[in-house]
Symmetry: C2
């Protein structure tokens, strides 16, 4: 195994291969204008010596950074850490650094993080997580990103559609529809929704799916309780408490992500309401613990790790004239938290 020794420079490789610095640089970066023979010799020597380019010098000289900035709403939420896992996999394969930033679902903080990444000259920006309904926020983000792209930066987002960049889009609407259909087929009609913050597009999209399933059965979301709260476990608890208090006849609760569903389940347990016998509960995302809750959670599976991989892969491709969109697909995973309507 080659032992690099921390001081090996490109010039060392060049000398050893008997070529100039410029030629060595071209050979290693796979650029045009080097005979295949020379190029392969340089690569050979480089490998033997265990040469690794200094990324700082490379960035400074070339203007293109090998750092990818990843902005997430919440680093220690499993939804985001699984996405980050996918991004990190691809980054490792490509020899890129990943810089993770945390916005805490605060749009202004997100804007600040974005600006910071741009100022730091990262080469790629990835944003994961719901967009905001507030057009001012999205317009500002959009402006920053397009300025960044104009300077050669690459961008991809996960779960945001209003940014005019390459996007990986989870099947939020279709997933919401599948969830509602599942409950309707089980006979539920008194359904309540524990929704995330009203200003998030993901919430709106999943809700739209629910609404469309209801409409197909001649029902309307407007007649059903939709309780908004934080897109977290605690948000789920608060929403569930409110639903139990204000809508005691409810037989099923749709939580719009698994974190909220976990909170809902915990509230049911606290009130000794058996799930699914008295109350069915569904989530969205299928984070890895969803299968281990008691009862195990019926939810929509999204391929989080793959979404992370896809996003970075998109960003690595040459920019296309129009933004690319990749849909994730989704699967309804039926487990033990849903059952037929209780008859009383």
């Amino acid at each position: 195994m080659p032992k690099p020794g921390p001081r090996l420079r490109l010039i060392d490789v060049a000398e050893r291969a008997g070529v100039s610095l410029a030629t060595a640089s071209r050979a290693l970066s796979g650029r045009e204008g080097v005979s295949e023979e020379v190029a392969s010799r340089v690569r050979q020597v480089s490998k033997e010596l265990g040469y690794v380019a200094n990324p700082y010098a490379r960035t400074l000289a070339g203007g293109t950074s090998s750092t990818v900035g990843l902005v997430v709403h919440q680093v220690d939420d499993p939804y985001f850490s699984e996405i980050a896992g996918g991004v990190i996999q691809v980054a490792a394969e490509e020899g890129l650094l990943v810089q993770i930033c945390h916005s805490g679902r605060d749009p202004d903080e997100e804007l600040r993080q974005l600006r910071h990444l741009i100022t730091q000259r990262v080469g790629i920006i990835l944003i994961a997580g719901s967009g905001y309904s507030d057009p001012r926020v999205e317009a500002e983000a959009r402006a920053q990103l397009s300025e960044f792209q104009a300077l050669g930066g690459r961008v991809a987002v996960i779960g945001r559609h209003a940014l005019g960049v390459d996007a990986v889009l989870p099947d939020n609407e279709a997933g919401g529809r599948a969830l509602a259909e599942h409950l309707l087929e089980l006979g539920h009609r008194r359904i309540a929704v524990a929704a995330g913050t009203a200003g998030l597009t993901t919430v709106a999209d999943r809700l739209a799916g629910v609404s469309s399933a209801l409409r197909q059965r001649g029902l309307s979301l407007d007649t059903l309780p939709v309780v908004h709260g934080d897109f977290t476990r605690d948000g789920g608890r608060v929403a569930a408490e409110q639903i139990l208090r204000d809508h005691p006849g409810t037989t099923a609760i749709i939580a719009l992500n698994d974190a909220m569903a976990i909170g809902v389940l915990s509230t049911m347990r606290a009130h000794r309401i058996p799930v699914p016998e008295r109350m069915s509960v569904v989530g969205f995302d299928d984070v890895s613990v969803a299968a281990d809750l008691a009862p195990s959670l019926t939810t929509i599976r999204l391929p989080m790790t793959d979404m992370g991989r896809m996003a970075l892969t998109l960003a690595l491709k040459p920019r296309s004239t129009r933004p690319r969109r990749r849909s994730t697909g989704h699967v309804l995973v039926v487990r033990d938290s849903t059952g037929p309507t209780p008859r009383d």
Copy 2:
């Protein structure tokens, strides 16, 4: 709010402040040898203009990098993502980049990641997660780290004690003892352990705590079943199946981390063994979902986020002559997964 504009350089700040490049550099980096008056003027101008140094140029010139490499066993395991969250917080406060690497609990892969970080010239290396009992592995890692430190790199680790560097040390032994004492006080004697891979020091340390509690009661770990498996949910399931099969009289299972405990609980559910009525189960770590499992998990709480913060904070301090050690403390959190011995 200052709008940086991506092309602002230190020379621009210097000119605006009416000083030379060198003076501006010194003023901003807080170095000696600038009159306080000049220094504060430069800082003022820099702030007004919204100047942010180019980290690549800075690293290339100064030799000290502002990226921190974080090596974890498993990025999407909550134990590690919470630690990473803490590291990211501090990094953000200090304007550092975080590069996360994943070793998959493979010691050779870890060594490879380490070498890669060193070659990439990161300024700080953080390693989180159990060490290996194999002295060869630890010696190799130790050698690499000391070479890195000799070149000016800073290092801190979480949960490893054999590396001769600053360390944040979870209370593994004391936690193991507390867990065992808790079960002993509830009357349990037929206790089994679902332990992680045998080669991990964390496993050995937690086991040592369990053993010491037993000894104090005149019992011995040698007479109890200790089943080794992966330090994951699936490892917990496999271990639990084996315990049920080979030691049907068992009344309590100590899982040496929460991931395994989740697997154990899921196996109990599959076998319809009520917890804690027929079987008590405990974990270790207190990942955030531990409270949401059914039954909620009795476990040892470790302050993961703080551990991440502490580790980076240690690494940021000037190096001391002898390695520093910070103990985390621990709390036994009693929840619903433990109860008195069943009498039959």
